[in-house]
Symmetry: C2
Subunit: 426 residues, 2 copies
């Protein structure tokens, strides 16, 4: 039980300001190291084919190629008249036919004639420009053209301008958004190769927990982590299974963990700090989950546990998050979300660090990388982050007013208004 | 048919550079006016009660109040020893009991004693501070306390610090994210009053269209708008019904529109510009849909149509988007998305304008508010927007590389690198 041994005090230093040094801070790894471990452990999910209608939000696993030119023919971009491009005074042309979208032109246009044409319709032979309806005067059999300069190619989208048959229209690794759905439809890719969605089980541990719809008796607390993590997992594009509350006994934990290990990921909350009933690392070890790290130098979120079960073909990522809801949330945002993103095939799976200017001072005292709740706002001058008042890592209520976390490396400093800081958007 | 009348040329000005003036540009309204119309027409959806597990992403429709204090008792924030706060040299205390989370303390602590306590457990009578386990040395029956200053309240979260019974924990109008799910669970709000999700029907019109899984014959195009808009509607938190492709005949259109009017919103693509087969406004009028606007001074997206059907109790918003996929997408992002957000109860339902510095020059020539595809990047100095090369409003392929639109008011100007511009994030 390496994780337990690490927690034994190493140096006992007494005095007015010196605190005990424990193995904790010495053994803990940095956030960057933790993310490196996650990147090495978690492999992108198997590739599945999904109908185009369900592909949005997933990551394309192979380059998507078009089976046709787009557009498949020279096409009018406007409603108007297909003509031969030429300069000169306004003039009247004979109208040959009307080409609506979906119909093929029948006759060729020459310098004395024009064909009425609709947006999306095919350009007739002879014509090399389209004059917008708004620049013409319709006289039935003839049309008066109001513009004097008509350039070749004007208002025409030539065949294969967007892409040609055989060309990659969306590259592997790209996240499929509505725009990508549109272009995949255009290219005829209706069975889309994507990385499968992760299947994630969530367990909240603790003798003190009762379900959210129950009134907590003396010494009891409601389970907020279970519902919160379940929602967070779904919002990350995975399939969540909330396995509910499990008591702090070896047998109950063993049964629940064994069930959770049928998923791609298992997330436990509670039971990973150093208390006598923190049985989670012990049960995980018994069931063959190998510890990769226990403890990350972040505040809040320090006692987070990460391990893996099984080998390369069926490898399950296991996270033990602190029972404290704020620590649990931060651990999820910084580490679990990254693991899910890596599994889902995102190339940029690590937490995205952005930057903003402080709107208000920030007092910072931490021996670890600290994350402070903040309200991000967009102004005409750029982005500002207002540090929110909060009473530390048990204050979930304050965190609900935040839409970002300000990240500050270890140190003691008061940052003033306007100082540029790193942020993680939540 | 007001919409048709408006399109009749008003002034016919010939010459080298002067184009016909049509009713179009004169009658078209601005984006701000269009959004005002949408705000007046669309009312927030009826309030429904949803299970907490399904509430994420919805907007809370009534203040959510807690039925308990949180925490419900004075609670330890760490694993350690509950003691009486005092200053002085390091000392050894008798250990009275072990209080695990979920168990109630049995005996009171005095200045000569301490109780071993776990994170989340209730503070015993007499004690007013907790010393972290890492600052102590455990000798079984006794404990040596290593810190000399123990402040009252240290490592204790007092009852009702987060919120008190009867207090609002999440205010009406807030979007429910995983954090809000957590705090609603803590407060016992497991049936959540939210605005219902919109039910949206999508119809792609056009004789030239074939389904995405079909090879388009001569003069035919694949329907990319249907799948794209369906995905966009789902991504906006609504329920989408893709009604497929409808031919440009009054009877087919009439039947499909009548079916679509059973939803809260109907979105049509194609058939709203000024061509001879643009039957959509005519059919909508026949079926009792009142036109509110037709044409907005935006580029791309100009011919967008908006109307409403029915009265206040059952009011249906109807959008006609241009057939061109890029225009259709921009019309959705700027107008339909806003209408859905308003229906879903979001207070900030209008498109969020942010700002960024240009990374590369931008040539701007437009008589309307123009939106250019751009790649937004976060750097240490703030946010930059790189204008992407594109071939105008038929170039959906280029738009798929964008994650933002740069918004520039009407004018002719070349903006250089570093210039601050407004952006809409897509």
């Amino acid at each position: 039980m390496a994780a337990w041994k690490r927690c034994v005090p190493r140096a006992l230093l007494f005095g007015n300001t010196v605190r005990f040094h424990t193995g904790w801070l010495l053994d803990m790894i940095s956030l960057a190291e933790a993310l490196r471990c996650i990147g090495e452990t978690i492999r992108p999910a198997p590739i599945i084919e999904t109908p185009l209608a369900d592909a949005c939000g997933r990551v394309l696993a192979r380059d998507a190629l078009s089976d046709i030119d787009s557009p498949p023919y020279d096409k009018s971009l406007v409603d108007g008249y297909a003509v031969v491009a030429q300069s000169g005074a306004a003039r009247t042309l004979r109208v040959l036919e009307e080409i609506t979208a979906g119909r093929l032109p029948r006759v060729a246009v020459d310098t004395g004639s024009a064909s009425r044409i609709m947006t999306g319709a095919a350009i007739p032979r002879g014509a090399d420009a389209v004059v917008m309806k708004e620049d013409t005067e319709d006289h039935g059999q003839t049309v008066r053209i109001g513009t004097s300069h008509i350039l070749p190619g004007q208002n025409i989208l030539c065949r294969a301008t967007s892409f040609a048959a055989g060309q990659t229209v969306v590259a592997a690794g790209r996240t499929i958004r509505p725009l990508e759905v549109g272009i995949l439809a255009e290219a005829g890719v209706t069975r889309v190769p994507v990385h499968a969605a992760a299947d994630v089980s969530i367990i909240a541990t603790g003798n003190e927990l009762v379900a959210a719809d129950t009134a907590p008796g003396p010494g009891r607390l409601r389970n907020s982590n279970g519902p919160m993590l379940t929602s967070a997992v779904r919002a990350a594009g995975a399939v969540a299974h909330d396995l509910g509350i499990v008591r702090d006994t070896m047998s109950e934990l063993r049964e629940a963990v064994a069930r959770g290990l049928r998923s791609d990921f298992l997330i436990l909350s509670g039971g990973v700090s150093v208390g006598v009933l923190d049985l989670v690392p012990r049960v995980l070890s018994e069931l063959g989950v190998r510890e990769i790290f226990h403890g990350v130098r972040i505040k809040p979120g320090k006692p987070v546990w990460f391990g893996r079960h099984g080998e390369s073909d069926r490898r399950i990522g296991v996270f033990g998050l602190p029972g404290n809801p704020v620590s649990s949330f931060v651990g999820f945002e910084l580490l679990v979300r990254a693991a899910l993103a890596r599994f889902h095939g995102h190339h940029d799976w690590q937490p995205t660090m952005a930057s903003a200017c402080l709107a208000g001072p920030l007092d910072h005292h931490a021996r670890r990388d600290a994350f402070y709740p903040a309200r991000l706002r967009d102004s005409a001058d750029g982005r500002t982050a207002e540090p929110l008042p909060w009473r530390g890592s048990a204050d979930l209520a304050a965190l609900t007013h935040a839409n970002a976390l300000i990240h500050v490396p270890p140190g003691n400093e008061t940052f003033s208004d306007g100082h540029r800081v790193d942020i993680v958007i939540i």
